[in-house]
Amino acid sequence: MLEIKDLRASYGKLEVLKGITLKIQQGEIFSIIGPNGAGKSTLLKAITGLMPHIEGKINFAGIDITGLQPHQIADIGIAHVQERHRVFGSMTVKENLLMGAYIKTKRRYIEENLEYVFALFPRLKERLNQQAGTLSGGEQQMLTIGQALMMMPRLILMDEPSLGLAPLLINSIYESLRELNSKGMTILLVEQNVKKALQISQRAALIENGAIAFEGSSEELRCNEEITKIYLGLC
């Protein structure tokens, strides 16, 4: 579904991605793990057009999306849930959800999609007219996922959903991701919480220094020697 070929990206003179090649299959959860600063978030930003200078090729469902503007990529059907749950703090929960349905062709399905989101996160329905900035961290994370769902995307890029959340909340968020996936949603997941990520995903890749160090099934990665060394025996 998503094919990335020899993707390079840089901040000024600092090259952050040094030639990444990846293929994401339809219907799978693909995890990208790796240490801080390895280029995981940058990879997502490069896909959705937030990096100003990239080289290589990105192909999504047969369309070449390399170098497109973020809003064009959103139109094509990729949702990008950024890290640290960036909601529009001074807008209400409802307005935030409606912003998710900003793309013209999706406005028709607002009612159904809202129901779908509320079914997944009943907490949001209770707080519908509250300012998003006053929600707890976990609720904000739910809201951003809800916003992404309002876009009716074919692929969700998920950046560190567990960051800064209590373990109980993390479990609940991951439960919802699993549920989404079971209904056929493709998810590209970036996580520092390696254990969680490899539990949920079918396949995964380890990025180090802007390049892919390992790629394979999540099972393989969990038992890989190198990774075991760094992340203390997950196998």
Binding site: T48, H71, H80, G133, Q147
Partner: protein, 287 residues
């Protein structure tokens, strides 16, 4: 007398608010300090004047004719500002809009002379009685018109996708773009809308104030006071800030020496800056 003074303060406050609303939206979304805003008000006044003199159009109706022109002008000015790198944008935009302000005011003077003008309507001197307060019809209509416009604009900002996208862009342009908002176009439209509001404010002012090519500078500092007072980017903040300023000025000028009136306005402004730097209504771009 007290009631009369408060009512008068509210009436003029509505108009202060209308001038400030456009400014606050432009500032909130683009962080552009638009020094051209006062001149846009001036142009709105002249447009109303000429349409009234030549075609007998009421200044309030004239806004329908002028709105598209202001929208286009705003978008054109944004085109000049857009390519400047974001880091320099705040200062450069200040200078560019001030430069455009000079060009506009001088051109207006060369075209229309420096003479002062006013719009006198057939009902200019008719008076309406409200709770024992005499209010001139133009003042009343202008204030109500302003309130309706601000109300309409509020609905636009909260109930339409375009309005919400403007607010979302003000808060976080990156995130907004990820939901499919074309930030460049939204910013451009926002600048246009801001100028439309300024032009309309000019039309509304024309029957109760006077105009000359350099009149714009009279409004700019006051409008910025309101913008900061209300919270940058906030429509309701601008409304409340304008009304508050109108009433406090009216009260101050009655019970204190008249020249103290402006000091009061600025002291309120400073008080807000000290105790609530984000303005009366908190964070930016709350509507």
């Amino acid at each position: 007398m007290l009631i009369s003074i408060v009512i008068n303060g509210l009436l003029i406050g509505c108009i202060y608010s209308l001038i400030a609303v456009g400014l606050t939206v432009i500032f909130g979304v683009m962080r552009i300090i638009n020094m051209f805003h006062g001149d846009a008000v001036m142009l709105g006044m002249y447009a109303a004047y000429f349409l009234h003199e030549k075609y007998g159009l009421s200044p309030y109706v004239a806004t329908i004719v002028t709105a598209p022109i202001f929208l286009a002008a705003g978008m054109a000015i944004y085109k000049i500002l857009a390519p400047i790198p974001p880091k320099q944008r705040e200062m450069s935009s200040l200078i560019i809009t001030l430069g455009i302000s000079f060009v506009t005011a001088t051109t207006a003077m060369l075209l229309w002379t420096a003479d002062y003008r006013t719009v006198n309507l057939s009902y200019s001197q008719e008076v309406f009685d409200l709770l024992g307060t005499r209010i001139g019809y133009p003042a009343l209509i202008s204030s109500i018109f302003s309130l309706l416009l601000i109300g309409g604009f509020y609905l636009f900002m909260t109930k339409t996708f375009l309005g919400m996208s403007i607010r979302a862009t003000a808060i976080d342009p990156t995130t907004a773009s990820l939901y499919g908002v074309n930030v460049k176009i939204t910013s451009m439209v926002t600048f246009g809308i801001g100028l439309v509001l300024a032009g309309v404010a000019g039309a509304v002012l024309s029957p109760i104030f006077y105009m000359y090519p350099f009149v714009g500078s009279n409004f700019v500092i006051k409008a910025f006071t309101i913008v900061v007072l209300g919270g940058m980017g906030s429509v309701t903040g601008a409304l409340i800030g304008g009304l508050l300023l109108g009433v406090s000025e009216a009260l101050a000028s009655t019970f204190l020496e008249y020249s103290m009136k402006d000091i009061i306005a600025f002291l309120i402004f400073l008080g807000v800056l000290i105790f609530k730097p984000s303005g009366l209504l908190g964070g930016r771009s709350r509507v």
